[in-house]
């Protein structure tokens, strides 16, 4: 057996290097388990044969992102169908998630009809509670007024809030409003002050899950994939034992562990975007139609209390 694939023997247009590069962002259905700040991964197929406790966590929820309702270009002419496929995927999970998080870019152009369509499609999902944060595409015309009317009940400022579920403290942040020329995502002074107050009363042992649209770490600032004032916000999490940050925006899976904080970005349900620096711009990436669903997906998150263990499973829609 040759140790290397020297050239593209299958004549499918994908050589080994290209395949590996693809899989790095496509999300391969791996299960990531975080224990004491160390990421361990298992393949989904191995898990199916021998499920661990992590797969039957005490708190299970699902993250979807970037549904871009209204997008109709070559990269995906039918974003309704792929969102429906995401719902089918969620409904087929062995354990019904307690709720869903939508990490923004619900719509493509902030049109009322686009929001309506997403609401309609998501009604078919088994989890009936959905927590949202806006993406920049949801606050295009009116600084997010419409977004707040629809999803902002009980939130502060531009739509930030926190809640507790089974001992886990969840914080939804907004970093897509009032963006400054030349800059990245912005949280702003008011929100950072609120955040400081929000976590002040928590015990260091409280697991924290933060979710926001644009990554709260510098994924690729040249493409605007980061948040200018995230370091200040993340500073308030230093005394906690387990902090997980879930983002969208970049339409691909990326993960990073920095000290006590684990960062994770989810796939889009609408269209993929290129890996950082591999294209002239971060615009929608068109893949052959038969491959589209293998580069879209959802993230299923399991938490086990007492072990500070969080497992994020990325599954594609294929």
């Amino acid at each position: 057996m040759p140790r290397f694939i020297r050239d593209n023997q299958d004549k499918d247009g994908i050589d080994r290097r290209g395949f590996l590069r693809c899989m790095a962002w496509a999300g391969t259905g791996a299960l990531w388990v975080m224990e004491g700040g160390i990421l361990k991964s298992f393949s989904l197929s191995a898990l199916a044969k021998n499920p661990t406790a992590a797969a039957q966590g005490q708190l299970s929820f699902v993250q979807i992102s970037d549904s871009h309702m209204g997008f109709n270009k070559a990269a995906n002419p039918d974003v309704v169908a792929t969102l429906q496929a995401a719902v089918a995927k969620i409904n087929a999970l062995p354990q019904t998630p307690a709720f869903m998080l939508h990490t923004g870019d619900i719509t493509h152009l902030s049109k009322p009809s686009e929001f309506d369509t997403v609401d309609q499609v998501l009604k078919d999902a088994k989890p009936k509670t959905i927590f949202y944060v806006p993406g920049e595409h949801d606050v295009l015309e009116d600084d997010g007024k419409q977004y707040l009317e629809r999803y902002g009940k009980g939130t502060k400022g531009n739509g930030w809030y926190s809640f507790d579920q089974k001992g886990v403290h969840f914080i939804g942040l907004v970093n897509v409003v009032d963006l400054k020329a030349g800059g990245l995502g912005t949280l702003g002074e008011d929100q950072i002050k609120w955040l400081e107050d929000d976590v002040r009363h928590l015990k260091p042992s409280t697991p924290i899950i933060v979710f926001a649209h644009i990554p709260l770490w510098s994924v690729y600032p040249d493409w605007g994939w980061g948040t200018d004032d995230s370091a200040r916000a993340l500073g308030y999490f230093k005394r906690f034992g387990s902090v997980t940050v879930l983002n969208g925006h970049i339409h691909q899976v990326m993960q990073k562990v920095e000290g006590n904080i684990t960062f994770h970005t989810a796939q889009s349900t609408a269209f993929p975007q290129p890996a950082p620096g591999t294209a002239p711009s971060p615009g929608p990436m068109t893949v052959p139609a038969e491959r589209l669903r293998s580069v879209l997906g959802i993230a299923d998150v399991n938490f086990i209390r007492g072990r500070h263990t969080l497992a994020v499973t990325d599954s594609t829609l294929a």
Binding site: H108, L109, H137, L140, E141, L179, A181, P221, W223, G283
Partner: protein, 119 residues
């Protein structure tokens, strides 16, 4: 584009010749010259404005066209102008009446920056 620059230069030369002859002549005469200023197009391609810097005469109109698959919002730093969300092939025009340097950016992709210099 070259043609525009050339005709601008011509306008400039005519203007300075006129001003030299008239000394501190009436401003209304300058304005009548400005009406001839060419309108200018800026393309939005691959998350950038092209050209990134343009120089126009006061009174000229700049028209932005979005060629990307995602929307962009043309917004001046000082909020003097802001387009609606421009979907693919949508256009936005703004007429610059006062001389000055106008820096602008995309309100949803703020890494995209450019400027219009109005003379």
């Amino acid at each position: 584009m070259k043609k525009h620059q050339w005709s601008l230069r011509l306008v400039g030369m005519t203007l300075s010749a006129f001003l030299l002859a008239a000394g501190s002549g009436p401003l209304s005469a300058v304005h009548s010259e400005d009406k001839a200023a060419p309108n200018t197009a800026v393309k939005i391609d691959n998350f950038s404005f092209a050209p990134g810097s343009i120089t126009i005469a006061a009174g000229a109109t700049v028209t932005w066209t979005n060629n990307d698959d995602v929307p962009h919002v043309v917004s001046s730093d000082d909020k003097s102008f802001r387009s609606k969300a421009l979907d693919t092939d949508d256009r936005f025009s703004y007429t610059f009446t006062k001389p000055g340097t106008y820096t602008y950016y995309c309100a949803i992709h703020p890494k995209m920056t450019a400027k219009v210099v109005v003379q």
